[in-house]
């Protein structure tokens, strides 16, 4: 029997369930409800420019915060002993495996006006803050949910950096700042890039976080798409067009970023 034939069922499966659906998205995006070819779905999208920019802005902020927390954390962690590293990794992954709806729901009760965070502030004699149903709450939700996706790839790259490379740099007279700038950071770049990808994509396309923590005040691209497919407006043609545009913008961002990150050995992960 031909061994290659073993993959035939899955190749057919991919054609039907991976390739065909994406082609359908493109087809729907360029057709109207009556079935004719049209650009209307795209020209009508201009009214949603605000939602587009808001989505990308919040996703960029959340990704930047994740990077600002995740990079130093991975860096410090890599210096710890093997046991601490292993235990820490399990602790970082554990919340990630809990359903993210529940994690987001938890923040609802913390950030509420009469929630635990404000109670804590009041207890300390500080003025309370209105956080729930604002962009800030949405960003907190994104950071909380996606932080592990930033830590894991960066950590796994830094952990693998050959100690002797760092020692060689020190022997050659580099101080710790220079070692970081010239050796560790460039070597960890692939991890940083895949971390950014893995935080940015779910952040820009979320609709749950904005619904639960934004309270419908903050509409993101995900909400817009969801509304076209399962909401009361039901317009899969417009929904497909928005999905397509989002996909293309994300793809361009990733391509630009990966180009910028090339030069070393290229991205190892993803």
């Amino acid at each position: 029997m031909n061994k290659k034939g073993l993959s035939t069922p899955y190749v057919i499966w991919m054609a039907i369930f991976v390739v065909a659906p994406l082609i359908l998205v493109v087809v729907y995006a360029f057709t109207s409800k009556s079935g004719g070819f049209t650009f209307e779905n795209f020209s009508g999208m201009l009214q949603y420019a605000g939602i587009f920019s808001n989505s990308f802005l919040l996703a960029i902020i959340a990704t930047a915060i994740c990077l600002a927390i995740g990079y130093p954390l991975s860096y410090f962690l890599a210096k710890e002993s093997a046991t601490i590293r292993k235990v820490a990794m399990i602790f970082i992954m554990l919340p990630m495996w809990m359903n993210f709806l529940l994690r987001t729901y938890a923040w609802m009760s913390i950030l509420e006006d009469t929630g635990l965070f404000n109670r804590l502030l009041a207890l300390l004699g500080l003025p309370t803050l209105h956080i729930i149903n604002t962009n800030a709450a949405v960003v907190i939700g994104m950071v909380y949910n996606f932080l592990p996706f930033m830590i894991l790839p960066i950590f796994s790259v830094i952990e693998k950096i050959d100690r002797s490379v760092i020692e060689a740099a020190q022997d050659l007279g580099a101080n710790s700042v220079m070692v970081f700038k010239r050796v560790i950071f460039p070597l960890s770049l692939p991890g940083v890039l895949s971390g950014i990808t893995m935080v940015f994509i779910p952040a820009v396309s979320t609709f749950v976080i904005s619904k639960l923590l934004g309270g419908g005040m903050t509409w993101l691209l995900g909400d817009l798409i969801e509304n076209q497919f399962l909401g009361n407006v039901y317009n899969p043609h417009l929904g497909s067009a928005i999905s397509l545009v989002m996909m293309i913008i994300v793809m361009i961002c990733m391509a630009v970023m990966n180009r910028f990150g090339e030069g070393e050995e290229g991205a190892v992960v993803l």
Binding site: F17, P21, F76, F91, P95, F100, Y105, I201
Partner: protein
Amino acid sequence: MKKNRFGSRLFMTLIGIFLYAPIAVLIIFSFNASKSRSVWAGFTLDWYTQLFQNERILSAITTTFLVSILSALIATVVGTAAAMGFSAMKRRPRGLFLSINNIPLINADIITGVSLMLLFVFFGGALTALGFRFRLGFGTLLMAHITFNVPYVILSVMPKLRQLDPNLMEAALDLGATPWQSFWKVVLPEIWPGVFNGMLIAFTMSIDDFVISYFTAGSGVSTLAMEIYAMTRKRISPEINAVSTLMFLFVLILLIIINVRQIRQERQERNRRQQIKGSEMPVDEIVSNEIISLLGESEGE
């Protein structure tokens, strides 16, 4: 130097608190006697008993486990076969198929969900027109789950196949084994760790998924995640906290099992590597890393 350590440890602890505070809050308030999400009114187990009397939730749990187990099993069989086929291919077609395989992993979940929904609605319409009965439901949910599960299995099995000595199967065949026997007795035991891990990843991905299920399950069936979403949208009930606590315990136990297995495997592999000196491993390590990072990928949303 010591001072430096202190600062970094403090930072790590703070992040730890940030990661676990919400979960602690969920768990603590699952035992709260009042419906409030911030005022403690005494200990109770009422929400747990209510949870197990809530038929919607019970049927959602059944659906979730059924779809997760079925899709993980099917994905494991299909994915292992596909990985074996791919690894026998030339570089070019293999590269092409593996990139298509990666699409569901890289795409935002909402895109995967929406595009599958379009497929089901489009072909469902065609089938209904031909007189067949077709509706969004358990079947479409299962198909969607298999679709996003197989890539994890393939990514987990491929490195094991790469490590496999190609002469091994031929030797078995030369010694008179049928292809099926040589797979079952020679190849499968060698790649089993990858197959099993792939199955576990697929299973947890399925259990955890909300977005793709949401778009492909229709209105008739719902998974636990969908039920939780509906609950957070409607009224506030500490039953959600009770669900969270149970799920957390479930994941914790699952994770312990996986880690114990991994440690045991590593020990075995180290022993083996000491016996056969010079067998290189870096490729495998890079790929297993890839899986670790991909693990997160679709889980978020």
